[in-house]
């Protein structure tokens, strides 16, 4: 087989540049295999993050020829001929080479008010397949964070990160809001603090999702509808006036049932 040329970004927070490696191509290899061969020979200090090499853990996200991909699930023979360019995810700060600091996502995870179910009956809850299926779609998420990487709201606007949880967490909120057992209410939080309104449904997140989760159609749009209903529905508005339901913070929502 012909040789393959890899153009890999190398550097750290202070800057860097592309380094080019040319090596033999082997049958059936994915991009991560080639990176591993470079590590094992020419550049043992080439930093890349990976774990399962089976598309199940979401560790090896990078931008291949400018597009967010899992390196372990991208076959070399399915890329266009010519140089293959590999760069780190743009939305997150660089640690080294292809490794980025994804701690933004772990901070967002801490803000999500937990599931609040009723007490469990003796031999488990009764839930039906059709009721759990909606949530199951979102729980396929492997946290590769490529949807976060590609989202314009934070990709080009660092300042938005403070008040925007991003598509990965919108599906987490959707999963909880649609959970058959949940008694929490996160709608106000989504509108006021998690920036749901910033999303202008361009569906870039859905396009890059390696798990083929319908992030926009099945999570974000239904969430937007629920949030809008809660905020602007005149009947709901009147109901709130009468019941004086107060707006809860994430911390309160995490420990208290909805009033």
């Amino acid at each position: 087989m012909a040789d393959v040329t890899m153009r890999i970004w190398r550097g750290d927070a202070n800057g860097g540049n592309f380094e080019t490696f040319t090596l033999a191509q082997n049958e059936g290899e994915v991009v991560l295999d080639v990176i591993h061969r470079i590590q094992a020979t020419e550049a043992p200090d080439l930093a890349c993050r990976w774990n399962c090499k089976a598309g199940k853990c979401g560790s090896c996200s990078a931008e291949i020829n400018g597009k967010p991909r899992l390196m372990c699930m991208t076959r070399m023979d399915q890329l266009p001929e010519g140089e293959v360019t590999v760069t780190p995810m743009k939305t997150f700060p660089i640690i080294r080479d292809l490794v980025t600091d994804v701690s933004f996502n772990y901070v967002q995870a801490q803000k999500v008010p937990a599931l609040l179910p009723p007490p469990m009956p003796e031999r488990g809850y009764v839930m039906f397949q059709e009721d759990v299926e909606r949530g199951q779609e979102f729980r396929k998420c492997i946290e590769c964070f490529m949807c976060q990487d590609v989202c314009h709201v934070i990709r080009d606007h660092e300042e938005n990160k403070e008040h925007y949880s991003g598509p990965r967490f919108f599906i987490r909120y959707a999963e909880l809001e649609m959970h058959p057992l949940d008694t929490n209410d996160r709608r106000h939080l989504l509108r006021e603090e998690m920036g749901l309104g910033y999303c202008n449904i361009t569906k870039c997140c859905t396009e890059v999702c390696p798990e083929h989760i319908h992030i926009t159609d099945n999570a974000i749009i239904p969430l937007k509808e629920r949030v809008v209903d809660a905020a602007y529905d005149p009947v709901a508005w009147l109901g709130r006036k009468i019941r004086r339901k107060h707006n809860r913070t994430a911390d309160e929502a995490a420990v208290q049932p909805a009033p």
């Binding site: 750290d12 082997n26 049958e27 059936g28 290899e29 994915v30 295999d33 590590q39 094992a40 020979t41 550049a43 043992p44 200090d45 930093a47 890349c48 993050r49 990976w50 774990n51 399962c52 090499k53 089976a54 598309g55 199940k56 853990c57 979401g58 560790s59 699930m73 076959r75 640690i95 080294r96 080479d97 490794v99 600091d101 994804v102 772990y106 995870a109 801490q110 999500v112 937990a114 599931l115 179910p117 469990m120 031999r123 488990g124 809850y125 009764v126 839930m127 039906f128 397949q129 759990v132 949530g135 199951q136 729980r139 396929k140 998420c141 492997i142 946290e143 909880l176 959970h179 057992l181």
Partner: protein
């Protein structure tokens, strides 16, 4: 404590953030303790995510006649009676509650028509017993526990590699020393109790389903710290790993394929497993295709198909078929579900297998068979623990999950691993809390030990020329695959022992290129001492166990020998350094009470 390094204090420090580590953390936190978790990867990426088929728990949702006693019996038979019976008993009794508990924390399992948790068939389990979510059950487990841990505000140190456990002046385990992968800076932790939940060691074999993390760090650190390792020769080669393309050789294909109706065929199209039914399983295994096929719909209508024998039996059979020249083009056999189930059924029940084969091999499993072969998957052996508390023989040190030994005996049943994590993860958290409350806990770190570990870790930077750690890793994997693989023999084991001594010397001559910040070459260099230590124990145990049992098969001793069913081989370190000699003794099995013995003999 000196102020040289970043330092943290905890009541309970947990090393490893897979299922066992996270479950232990939840338990210890609920006891009001200050808990920290250290993981060498990001949170949520642990090897647990790769578990596919499900977690075994005798809830009786599909077959009401299932109960803990049948599960206990299946586990002991699967383990060829080398198990710590008390662990198998606790596991069988407690697994259902641990699974139900996950639902309170947000897990969404597949359901029965009545709205209960659906349970699936797996090898060696008499009844459909595995709670599951399609073929991504491990992801569901890790995400549920991860989200619970985050909601409880437990501290998690991500991408921090632990080098060594550290004692206090009286010899109790008192913490550890490690480094941040991002910066290469060292960190020390002092803790009243340390729980190891570091997973397995399969990365020392060439064809493995394990990720880079499976380097046996916890096994080795426990040994160095004064604990014992048992049953290290018992390694599970999962019968169904991918064999092609070469770059994904070893990647796991879930046993759920067979549980859901998939069968194994050789190049003649024969369902060869009918020719490999051991006497021990003959009474409960179908003897015709017709009988086996009835069983899938109704377990009372026929006996189970031989494709669902325990993994050790199936892996050996595949190995024999390939050796006899009846293998597939790439050196495996065929796993066929396409001719037996509808494409819709396959895509719904096995979505990630469908994608895995489609994307990596260009094979559509709804229309063609898969090529599969054995892959190094799981180590039954591990740190010897007390069944109730998971305390090791090193005071202050606890272990749970794959790093602990005893639960699975000589061979683990599929589905018993995820349940193991949550049953014994919880118990380790309780054990550590009780130990701390009893007031015996350690108070200070031995600074000499910290300095020695740091010096060892930095030495490869001082050498201007030397070996590339990747060369050593590759050679080690090839050597172990060739000589301490699925079928073993005295001469090869003796050769392996000699080679491992050479690897020890080669590691001392590694030169690391580049700096300390996120340097994978350096990280691998710090993994190699653990890998070699584990390989030495495996090889020693395999040499001494002159019989075949479960995940240990000797060509020169092909039968099980009842004399060897009375003890485990237990290894300990003489010196506590990674290159110290290892002493191996026979450690008698616990004596099983008569009422449990009766369960094993009963024909359920």
């Amino acid at each position: 404590m000196s102020t040289t390094y970043e330092h943290h204090d905890y009541d309970v420090l947990i090393i490893g953030a897979g299922g066992a580590g996270l479950r232990a953390a939840i338990e210890a936190k609920q006891r009001g303790l200050k808990v920290g978790i250290v993981t060498k990867s990001l949170l949520g990426k642990a090897h647990t995510v790769m578990a596919e088929g499900g977690m075994a728990a005798a809830m009786g949702n599909v077959y009401p006649e299932d109960n803990w006693m049948v599960h206990f019996r299946d586990t002991m038979r699967g383990g060829k009676y080398l198990n710590n019976y008390r662990m198998a008993e606790l596991h069988a009794k407690e697994a259902p509650d641990r699974v139900w508990e996950l639902e309170q924390w947000g897990a969404l399992f597949d359901r029965t028509k009545e709205g209960k948790i659906l349970q699936r068939d797996f090898g060696g389990h008499r009844y459909a017993r595995l709670a599951h979510v399609g073929d991504r059950t491990g992801l569901e487990l890790i995400r549920t526990l991860q989200q619970k841990v985050v909601s409880m505000g437990i501290d998690v140190f991500m991408e921090l590699k632990v080098l060594k456990l550290v004692h206090d002046e009286s010899g109790r385990v008192a913490g550890c020393v490690g480094y941040w992968r991002a910066s290469g800076e060292f960190v020390t932790f002092a803790a009243k109790a340390v729980i190891l939940a570091t997973g397995g060691a399969g990365k020392s074999w060439k064809f493995t389903s394990n990720s880079w993390e499976g380097t046996g760090d916890g096994h080795a650190m426990a040994l160095w710290a004064g604990a014992q390792l048992i049953d290290m020769e018992c390694i599970q080669f999962h019968p169904t790993g991918m064999v092609w393309p070469l770059s994904v050789r070893g990647l796991l294909v879930t046993e759920g394929v067979r549980g859901d109706g998939g069968v194994l065929r050789n190049s003649n199209g024969e369902r060869f497993m009918f020719n490999y039914v051991a006497d021990m399983f003959r009474a409960e295994t179908a003897d015709s295709e017709d009988e086996a096929d009835k069983w899938y719909d109704d377990h009372a209508a026929g006996r189970r198909p031989p494709e669902l024998l325990p993994r050790d039996e199936v892996a050996r059979a595949i190995n024999s078929e390939v050796k006899a020249g009846r293998g597939s083009p790439h050196g495996g056999v065929f796993l066929d579900i396409a001719s037996r189930r509808s494409p819709e059924f396959i895509r719904r029940r096995l979505p990630s297998m469908y994608h895995q084969f489609m994307e990596l091999a260009g094979v559509d499993i709804t229309s063609e068979p898969m090529e599969i072969g054995p892959t190094c998957h799981y180590i039954m052996g591990g740190v010897k623990v007390d069944a109730e508390t998971e305390a090791t023989l090193a005071p202050g040190l606890f272990a749970a999950g794959e790093v602990a030994g005893g639960m699975h005996g000589a061979n683990r049943l599929g589905g018993n691993s995820l349940s193991d994590l949550i049953v014994f993860g919880r118990r380790a958290g309780m054990g550590a809390a009780d130990y701390i409350e009893s007031g015996q806990a350690a108070t200070s770190l031995d600074e000499g030990e910290v300095e020695a570990a740091v010096k060892d870790a930095l030495a490869p930077f001082d050498r201007s020329s030397g070996e590339n750690p990747y060369d050593i890793q590759r050679d080690l994997q090839e050597m172990m695959q060739a000589n301490v693989g699925i079928i073993r023999t005295q001469s090869e084991l003796e050769f392996a022992a000699g080679e491992l001594d050479k690897f020890t010397e080669r590691v001392k001559n590694i030169a690391v290129k580049g700096g300390r910040a996120y340097n994978p070459g350096w990280n691998l260099t710090t993994d190699l001492p653990a890998m070699i230590t584990v390989c030495k124990c495996v090889t020693k145990g395999a040499t001494l166990r002159k019989e075949s049992r479960g995940g240990h098969t000797r060509e020169d001793f092909p039968k099980a020998d009842p004399e060897f069913a009375k003890f485990n081989f237990a290894h300990s370190s003489k010196g506590g350094n990674w290159d110290s000699p290892i002493e191996t003794v026979e450690s008698p099995l616990l004596t099983m009470p008569d009422d449990l013995k009766a369960l094993l003999e009963e024909d359920h």
